[in-house]
Assembly symmetry: C2
Homo-oligomer: 595 residues x 2
Amino acid sequence: MPRVPLRHGEGNKEHLTSFGGLAALSLDALSSVAYGPEAIVLVLVAAGTSALRLTVPITLAIAGLLVVLVVSYCQVISVHPDGGGAYAVGKKDLGPTVSLLAAASLVVDYVLTVAVSLAAGAASLASAFPSLGHHILAMCLIGLVLITAVNLWGIAESARVLMLPMVAFLAAIFGVIIVGLVRAHPAIVVGSAQPVHVSEALGTIVILKAFAAGCSALTGIEAIANGVPTFRRPRASRAQHTELMLGALLGAMLIGLAVLIAREHVAPRGGVTVLAQLTAGSFGTGWAYYATNIAVTVVLALAANTSFGGLPVLMSLLSTDDRLPHLFGLRAERPVYRYGVVALAVLAAVLLLATGAATHRLIPLYAIGVFIGFTISQSGLVRHWHGRRSRRWRLRAALNGTGAVLTATAAVVFLASKFTSGAWVVVLTVPALMLLFSRIQSYYRAVGLELDLGRHPNRPLPAESLVIVPVGGISKLTEHALHAALSLGDDVVAVSVHPEAAQSAAFRAEWDRWNPGVRLDTLNSPHRSLVHPIVDYVRRAQQDDRQVAVLIPEVQPRRWRYRILQNQRGLLLATVLRASTDAVICTIPYRLTTR
Amino acid sequence: MPRVPLRHGEGNKEHLTSFGGLAALSLDALSSVAYGPEAIVLVLVAAGTSALRLTVPITLAIAGLLVVLVVSYCQVISVHPDGGGAYAVGKKDLGPTVSLLAAASLVVDYVLTVAVSLAAGAASLASAFPSLGHHILAMCLIGLVLITAVNLWGIAESARVLMLPMVAFLAAIFGVIIVGLVRAHPAIVVGSAQPVHVSEALGTIVILKAFAAGCSALTGIEAIANGVPTFRRPRASRAQHTELMLGALLGAMLIGLAVLIAREHVAPRGGVTVLAQLTAGSFGTGWAYYATNIAVTVVLALAANTSFGGLPVLMSLLSTDDRLPHLFGLRAERPVYRYGVVALAVLAAVLLLATGAATHRLIPLYAIGVFIGFTISQSGLVRHWHGRRSRRWRLRAALNGTGAVLTATAAVVFLASKFTSGAWVVVLTVPALMLLFSRIQSYYRAVGLELDLGRHPNRPLPAESLVIVPVGGISKLTEHALHAALSLGDDVVAVSVHPEAAQSAAFRAEWDRWNPGVRLDTLNSPHRSLVHPIVDYVRRAQQDDRQVAVLIPEVQPRRWRYRILQNQRGLLLATVLRASTDAVICTIPYRLTTR
């Protein structure tokens, strides 16, 4: 069984430079400029096109929050150099319930990252190729299948491979901004103008909603703090360097795009994203337009892909804390890893189908979870500074406290304003996941108590052993099984089941002619049941103090498709014996060479 | 695990009287009067309503064939008192290829019996309740789900329970015939008249097609010969008695209904079956009409149910002959029985969906297989008489030879006339099944040769044994596993896997403090893989001549839903070890009492 390729942070640790870290850990954050500014425009336009002039001030406020978050995460990095993340911070500083909340919202967010990135990527591609406009959902599902296949197959992403699309993406976006600012007028206005239905008055509520919606551009900036162990030493300072780079790049892009939006009076237009409109305004609709849209699509698809690396790591952390089945601790085992990949893909597909792959319907759900995580990280830091009372702790606590209040406000605004249009899903899912994790944890705790986990049980002593070998005929397989049984047991008995006494007698005569040196017990079963007579026999054998084992030989055909022809009876017998007796169940393979 | 209830012929053998045998084994045959006469009418009307006058002569010809078949099956019963059936007859007298053909057509027929009976039953119910007319397919699927559920749950049908519906059915049909013959004119004409499209000239082809279609009324008369062992002694004569009763009843019903059809000028009418038209003609549309239609529906549903009893028996016979996985020999085991029930239900559902539950589209497919079976049985008898050359063998052989030619003709006519409208499915399926059975048989034969099945292998000798116990911690579970390992092995070693050397050292220190008297080997796995280090360890241990066993403790939670939380790692380990080493894999259950 081949090994699952390494993900970030495994095996080859300490390999990321600051710039490599940006490619490996920040594509999700950087690519959110494809939907964040658009989310602001969509909210504001509901209060009339004149409201769009608020885009720049609102973006500046978001950039302010970005500064707070970046500084805050730099502190998280120095406080938790082993990889922070809301889950670890919450567990350490804020207690089990908060860490459960963090875990649940992270799980929801991994699913939503996949869905949002695919939906935004499809919208970007459809802006370049309008004939794809009616197939957004289909494109998302095809993209999802491709990403899932790549992950099932197991391609290790490397920072070097991700570098090229990231550089292309940054060059394209900054190209749009710089060329756009230099031009007096937009080169081309693309997309069909839509009638504006003014449904709300321009007031605090709309501004708050636009602010909260635009905050979706901040999703993903926590990833660097989660991934500190993947940096080259000195890890913390390299990671902080990357976090600052990310903040600077993201802030500059957001503000630049907002200024362009205001200058070019960009409004939602049918079938063309806001970013694509700005691109056309700067570059026209020649090759540069196509190249930019494709770069955006590729980076969004890669952002979707990061969840497939991240969720297994989180599930493994949760299983270490007894909050998910221990199985998920073995994330390097391919079958376990595949469970996770397929589960994530199915959930993302459900979300895409439920929302019709509309980015603006997914973003509120997405942002709620992300902002819960931000709030938890910042609150944890406040608690941390308060507990340590180191130098300048009040200033630090005030900074993180402000961040916590702002991000909590954004989460509440999302939740309240979008409750009926989908946010209730998050409100149901997050507590349900928390309950699940906590039920699993209390189950494992009870089992641990029952098993005296961590104490020293009695010293195990050997007992006499009896090995029972069910036989159906005399062959090399029988010899193979009896050899193993004689090696393992102090006493060995072969058992055969026959419909009638005559057949039993005939088989006994044949057995005696062979004379294998093992005694035979024959059982009669007029109902042609194999399992029950043997189960009863094993139960009777267990009545003394001997250790009873049942040894079942298994023919292993060379080809998989012959599996159904072999061992099914043994499998059935083993299953029933396991459920209804305390015997040791042993299976011994006999490898066929036939065909 | 509760036992599957007994089917006919198991356990309580020799319990059927002649009349009981009619109820237990002939519902399928008797109920075919619900679709056989209708099939004739449907073919003839294509040559104009005047062609309908041929209904009586064609039915008389079919009754003649019925006589030949009944006499022939009486002979099958005396020649094969252990239960004949086309499969057994073919295997004994006509060689392996013919018996494969018989087996394949029987499998196809079991599926089609379910589909045809349900479709005809739904049509009968819709005749009584016209509002159900647009929901024939849905009614069939609901009926299928109910029958499947009953069979999964496992209700044993008894001849006594079946007696009542059979008597009601016979009373109703003979009531329709007698009252109808006494009346001068039909009481009421139901159903809406349909325009007749004359698409064929009345000639030999149409008459042959009508004959072949009407022969579908003969399906099921082989069941008594298959079930001889279920009769009370003297079995053969009781079974022959039942066969004769069936022939007389079926013949009388077919001729009586044909005469009524001719007298009342019955033609296909929208939404009402031919039998329902005759019922209304005799009884009017009062309670007797509803009662008759319901009795017909119930008997058809019970006829569908008989396949669920019959297919497992056939599969068990095939598995005894190495033509199906040996697993199916264990038909008394509930999981095996359930596979068969679910597979049959799924295939019948596919057929119903593909044909829209239209009886007239299913009947040709059905009849082909049945008539292949008839032909094989009769040809086998010809060969039998020829081989024995007993008294009057020429007469007997001539009788069966005639039957074989007639039934073969019917099969060929069905096949040719319905090839493009569905019979090609049978033409593909039957050889595909034959190929499958024969591939399975040659696989088992090759394996038997490799295993020296039936010869005496060497006498097995014991070897030294080493039992490896993977441990993840120290608990009562560890003690339990080590106790069993010490009982079974000459040498025992515990193995633990840790991500880093420090953890290994800590666990070793803990182990030494416990001092269980078993040595510990620690393995390091920086990739968090549990399976590979242990597989490598086992492979190394197998390099000497010792018998190596790996003992994996399994926590057995009290509730099923906790299964996912336990043992998944052990299961994964066992699966990989089984596939990639020759070690004996032992599992030992540890039953939790927690919750």
